[in-house]
């Protein structure tokens, strides 16, 4: 967790991609879809929460590749040979995904204020806490995937990349899912990310309601499932 502090550039650099989406895709979105689709909010107010979720989706889902690298160099094996319990190792690694996400989300929200984003500090913070919880689950799943695909990096990237875009599009991060056909709306109901995005949208708009609760639930379920999968993978890893 100290790593991003020692190397703050990596944290800032990782914000470039979301900034590109905000700066280059946001205006197009407003022009193409039009404000009415955003429930009367400004495009930025509607799009930013999705971009914040995108940070987690792109960044945290790749975190398993670090573990694959450690599997190759030997630093993971060194830790396996210590008395540290396997479960603690996995849970600790997953929990440390929480803080960078909160900081990144906060930074990008602050950057957007001069461009007309109405900042509700407590709501945004709560939204980021939920995002962090989701990140713990996603991180753990990414680690689990890395362990399962040990010595076969292409499987890790194949699965991660294959899941990434369908999950993102079906969650309505980029475009309102309400505009899509019925089957897409139905599919999005089975996507935990949809609930997270809706919750962030509600919170970033300065209100708390059912969407927030559902989002918190979806994030918690993701965290629970991720941690269970991660712990199982790490305990099975020794053969």
């Amino acid at each position: 967790m100290l790593l991003p502090l020692r190397d703050p550039f990596s944290l800032v650099f990782s914000l470039l991609q979301p900034l590109v989406f905000l700066g280059l895709f946001g205006p197009l979105l407003g022009a193409a879809v039009g404000a009415p689709a955003f429930g009367g909010q400004s495009t930025l107010q509607w799009f930013l929460p999705g971009v914040v979720v995108m940070i987690a989706l792109f960044g945290t889902s790749m975190i398993g590749s670090n573990l694959q690298y450690e599997l190759m160099t030997g630093s993971y094996e060194r830790i396996l040979a210590t008395p540290l319990s396997r479960s603690s190792l996995m849970i600790g690694r997953a929990l440390k995904e929480w803080a960078p996400l909160v900081v990144q989300g906060l930074l990008i929200a602050l950057v957007c204020i001069p461009f007309g984003f109405v900042f509700y500090p407590l709501h945004v913070l709560f939204g980021l806490v939920i995002l962090g919880i989701f990140g713990i689950g996603l991180g753990a799943l990414s680690y689990a995937l890395a362990l399962v695909s040990q010595n076969k990096e292409w499987i890790f990237w194949g699965v991660q990349q294959t899941l990434l875009f369908p999950l993102m599009i079906l969650s309505g991060i980029m475009l309102p899912i309400e505009a899509g056909p019925d089957w897409m709306k139905t599919a999005s109901l089975f996507n935990p990310l949809s609930y997270l995005v809706n919750a962030e949208r509600e919170l970033f708009a300065g209100s708390v309601g059912t969407d927030t609760l559902l989002g918190l639930l979806a994030a918690s379920v993701t965290a629970a499932v991720g941690l269970v999968a991660g712990v199982r993978a790490i305990n099975r890893n020794i053969n």
């Binding site: 100290l2 790593l3 030997g74 630093s75 040979a81 008395p83 020794i238």
Partner: protein
């Protein structure tokens, strides 16, 4: 310190069962320095990984530092140090942070861990690099850091998997300095794997030769060489008198064959002639003691030696003797 009973590991690779380790029995007493010697793929690392709980045995048992590896893997891990083949330091971390973290993994408090880390960094000539990120260290520095990581909790039993692979001679010597000092100062039991025969030869008191998952020899390097290989003796005599000593030399060489109880390279006498001189080459047990006697016998037989060369055996000769293959080409069947 270590006791194994028919320790076995089989892997299933593409539906084919591969027996990596075939029921090895090993006993290591406290304070011993033991090397597992064998070619790549012989099963020595697999054995080590079972002893360090990184692999679960397929069958058989192993007790390490008084604890069963299957029943209480965490208990074993708390009592041993392990320095693997790879580099232990996480690449983006600072050296000192990794060492302290390692100490914390073994239940040390931060203060003790920091003190121990600085002590090790100093003794391994890494003190100036404490705040450097691991990725910026040279290969030799990283390997020394691995040693520091393995010693953080002052284990009484230390495992090293191919500790000096890829190191230059100076770094190898340096590494061995540290290992030997550790042993002299703390009586640490050390078990290592190596495919460098000279390393096993010079450094270890006891060499366990492993091939195809089985222990094929287990003794001191000196005794293995004396009993299994013998010294290489080359003598030259004038061509016209060669016939007179051929039988004598054959009988001398037979000593090695007798010990082994099988026909092997050591039992033969090679000869080639050049410019009226015949050069005999043979294996001789206790060569230093027997060569003078042999010279006398040759004199008496009317074929005085014109030159003599006596070469002590290497563990490579031992391996060749045991398996019919060179250690270096060992992995080929």
């Amino acid at each position: 310190m270590i006791h194994t009973d028919k320790l076995t590991k089989t892997f299933v690779v593409k539906k084919e069962t591969v027996e990596a380790v075939k029921g090895v029995d090993i006993d290591v007493a406290p304070g011993e320095l033991v090397a597992f010697l064998g070619p790549n793929g012989a099963g020595k690392s697999t054995t080590l990984r079972m002893l360090t709980t990184l692999l679960r045995p397929t069958s058989g048992t192993a007790t390490v530092a008084g604890v069963d590896v299957t029943a209480n893997a965490a208990g074993v891990r708390a009592r041993i140090g392990y320095i693997g083949q790879g580099n232990g330091g996480g690449h983006s971390f600072r050296v000192i942070d990794e060492l302290i973290m390692q100490g914390r993994f073994y239940g040390m408090n931060s203060t003790d861990a920091a003190a121990r880390a600085h002590e090790l960094l100093t003794s391994l000539d890494l003190a100036d690099l404490a705040k450097r990120t691991v990725i910026k260290l040279s290969g030799g520095q990283r390997r020394r850091m691995d040693v520091a990581l393995g010693l953080m909790h002052s284990p009484r039993l230390l495992f090293l998997d191919e500790p000096s692979t890829g190191m230059d001679p100076q770094n190898r010597a340096n590494l061995w300095d540290h290992i030997m000092r550790l042993r002299a100062e703390h009586g640490t039991t050390i078990v290592l794997t190596t495919h460098y025969m000279d390393e096993a030869d010079l450094m270890s008191e006891r060499v366990i030769v492993i091939d195809h998952g089985q222990i094929i020899a287990d003794d001191t390097a000196a005794r293995l060489k004396a009993n299994l290989a013998g010294d290489l003796l080359a003598v030259e005599v004038a061509a016209e008198s060669a016939a007179g000593v051929r039988g004598l030399l054959g009988r001398a060489a037979a000593g090695v064959r007798g010990l082994l109880g099988r026909a092997a390279a050591g039992g033969e006498v090679n000869e080639n002639s050049n410019d009226g001189v015949v050069r005999f080459r043979l294996r001789l047990t206790e060569g230093a003691r027997r060569a003078p006697v042999l010279l006398q016998q040759m004199n008496d037989a009317g074929a005085p030696a014109q030159s003599l060369e006596l070469q002590p055996p290497t563990l490579d000769d031992v391996f060749l003797e045991l398996t019919g293959r060179n250690l270096r080409e060992g992995a080929d069947r």
